[in-house]
Symmetry: C2
């Protein structure tokens, strides 16, 4: 059934079982997201009353049963109440469906009785060679296929990060957050009760998925810890995995236990296993996405030498503090660094951090960024900018985008811009182009450090 | 000359010496900000050519010398080139001006020669009983007087935080940032070369300023460290002081030394002195403003019991982790906490963190927030919300604003909302009303912890 994950992300046709004509219903929201996000395969609504469903003027005839659909169906999204799910799964099996995201809740999360039904559904599915995602999920998104089969926000920004969430509520909130914050996604997967498809299965899919460069998991617990860690370790050798797992503190772990039924006190075991598997554990949502921006967009560095370019002494010092705390190596060769003297007034400093001074305009940044990109001894670049009247931050963004593209994007480059609304716009412009940009110097440096941590772990694995 | 600081923040009349009729010039930008931000005192442009200056259709006759102004002048903002400054200061003295923000650069920051001129200017000023702010600054803002005498952004949001910046470039960028991020300010002061008025003088003013509840300083170094620390300690007993001082790491300190001429290696001394003086040292700009939101808006807690209300188990656990790491005490009395069972379905949890569940709507939050505010044993409240379809985050914001106002704002309350554009709008609504709101649970908890840290330090001082 390995191939069925392919059907989860690139289905040629999708049935929505429990589709609704009423805005406000989940069975309508999924239809609407499929249509509005531009899914190009066939969409077959299934509704017991056979109602007509209209989305943005486009009319869909619905079928009373999936067995009535006059075509092959790769994926069937199930939205009917829990008590009808076993029968619907049976019918989907007869139809030859490959994968079943089950949105419906009311199973294992309610207790033993629900868990039993859940196991029966999985047995039925496996008898027909089908895989199940969920139940108790908000759906699945795969941006390369223009498929948004969720009842979450519509306009997911395409990119290279795969997001997996065990929590439905937080997962939907994070989808909205990625749109607001311009984080590009390849996929969003709500795993819910993980009755069948689990994190390890998804990691294996994303390992070889060309559209995914990094994976971010919000996790409350895993069922088969050993397998997860083995798979995570293999995947980490190819692509970085970032995990948010709350419950580090004693009281936090207790609260998590009552919330998810996972073992309290197990956090230290997770921590050790993550480290061994090359998994990057982020302590907060913000940190996870900060790292993800850099890890899903940038190439690995070819060496340890980092160069910091700045127009503000203060933010240069802040970045230097962060770099030293994170164990990054600031490039030191003054003969090489001297090239930056061409782009600054006499009171600037070409010692790393390179202070182009508050007078630095478009030409200074253009020249300095170009020189840093061109020098093979400078392996990673952090471009910092403190908004001044000399250079509109949006113009700086354009310069960085152009220079980075022209250089072929061969080395990591991160940006931090401190300022007001124009700075925010510049940051958005850069992130939309896949150049990680942040409103604070430390966040840029720490994200670059996360890339180095993963890259260094990988290098150590190869030696062993 | 103590009273002259009053003239820096509440001048009855302002002269702009070096005012310009040309948009793009600093001497124009300051005139424009004064007019557009609504300063209600008299404005007298001084321009050697006596040009007419038009701002938004309002025409200002300019005077060729400040001595020609037919009125008393409390404050004269000086924008003329460095070489004319000594003469202008002399004339301002003759005119009886009280305080001189000197925007002009080209003094001590250039070296010994400039320092000499700087000292002469200060001598002249003191001879006439005047005080000098700067030189090499971007100006001063005092929102209660609707005065924006800077060439930075115009629309500073009024509030209770005084911001002092030694760096001009970063200070202007941070002004823009506060507008974007809805941080309310009482004052912005650019101190530049600190030839006369320094951080300690300003702290003494803000100590008794009713419009200021907290002070945030971006500092690169201080000249008279002993006096600063003494004053900071006294002020901290009344109002919290947050300081950002870069240069913690060895290399960062070296870079700072070359940038500002301050001593490298002195950071440990600063660190110890800050601690002793009750100063809260923030490690990043973001952290500083996170704390400032809470410290400038909320009352002190009357006890250690913190209650966390959430609709998402996951963010509740994250907040609990942060609370435990920061040494906050989560309230534990189940008899008292049981009241929250009224606002949740049976599978919710009234154990702190209180999980209202993903089904929590307006009524659940309204009831829970009201009960938490009413219970005298619950000393501080963190309201967390993970955006769901059940409750629009903006409606949650309205509920929290109403309940907090009706309770009389007697205990600390912080909010975190995770989600997309509506969540961001809700966060902005809360911050505009002076209720600290953040996009991540940990940031809310850490800010509350900063309030506790300061409050506990204060309590210890009283015992000694």
């Amino acid at each position: 059934m390995e191939g069925n994950l392919e059907a989860l992300f690139r289905p040629k046709s999708i049935a929505v079982i429990g589709a609704s004509e009423k805005p406000g219903k989940i069975g309508y929201a999924i239809m609407r997201n499929l249509v509005e996000y531009g899914y190009e395969g066939k969409i077959y609504p299934v509704n017991i009353k056979g109602v007509e469903i209209e989305i943005n003027g486009r009319k869909f005839k619905s079928y009373k049963s999936i067995l009535d659909v006059p075509d092959e169906v790769d994926m069937a999204v199930i939205v009917v109440p829990a008590k009808f799910v076993p029968q619907v799964v049976e019918e989907a099996g007869k139809k030859g469906v490959k994968v079943l995201p089950i949105i419906s809740s009311g199973f294992g999360e309610l207790g033993e009785e629900g868990k039993k039904v859940e196991r029966q559904i999985v047995e039925t599915a496996h008898r027909y060679g089908m895989r199940i995602l969920g139940p108790n999920i908000f759906g699945v998104v795969y941006t390369p296929a223009k498929m948004n089969a969720t009842f979450g926000p519509t306009d997911v920004m395409p990119g290279n990060l795969a997001l997996i969430s065990q929590s439905g509520a937080l997962g939907i909130a994070l989808m909205g957050w990625t749109i607001l914050e311009k984080v590009g996604l390849s996929a969003v997967v709500s795993v819910g009760n993980k009755s069948d498809i689990d994190d390890a299965d998804l990691l294996e899919f994303f390992k070889t998925d060309d559209n995914t460069k990094a994976i971010l998991i919000y996790m409350e617990g895993v069922k088969d810890g050993r397998r997860f860690m083995e798979v995570a370790r293999e995947v980490s050798k190819e692509k970085p995995i970032i995990i948010i797992k709350a419950g580090r503190s004693e009281r936090g772990a207790k609260a998590a236990a009552s919330h998810t039924g996972s073992l309290a006190g197990a956090d230290k075991i997770y921590e050790a296993a993550f480290k061994q598997s090359g998994v990057l554990r982020a302590l907060t949502i913000g940190e996870a996405f900060d790292w993800a921006r850099t890890l899903s967009n940038l190439p690995e560095p070819e060496g340890e030498n980092v160069v910091i370019l700045t127009n503000g002494g203060g933010i240069g010092v802040m970045a230097t503090d962060a770099a030293e705390e994170e164990g990054l190596h600031l490039y030191d060769d003054l003969e090489d660094l001297k090239v930056f003297a061409n782009h600054m007034p006499p009171f600037g400093s070409y010692k790393n951090p390179v202070d182009l001074t508050g007078m630095a305009g478009a030409e200074a940044y253009e020249g300095a960024v170009r020189d840093a990109l061109a020098n093979p001894n400078m392996h990673s670049i952090a471009v910092l900018y403190c908004q001044t009247a000399v250079l509109d931050p949006r113009d700086l963004a354009k310069i960085v985008i152009r220079e980075y593209n022209e250089s072929g994007r061969k080395k990591p480059l991160v940006v931090a811009i401190v300022g007001g609304i124009e700075a925010k716009e510049a940051i958005d412009m850069l992130n939309e182009e896949g150049i990680p940009a942040y409103p604070e110097p430390e966040r840029a440096i720490k994200s670059l450090a996360a890339l180095y941590r993963w890259s260094n772990w990988k290098a150590r694995q190869k030696k062993e």
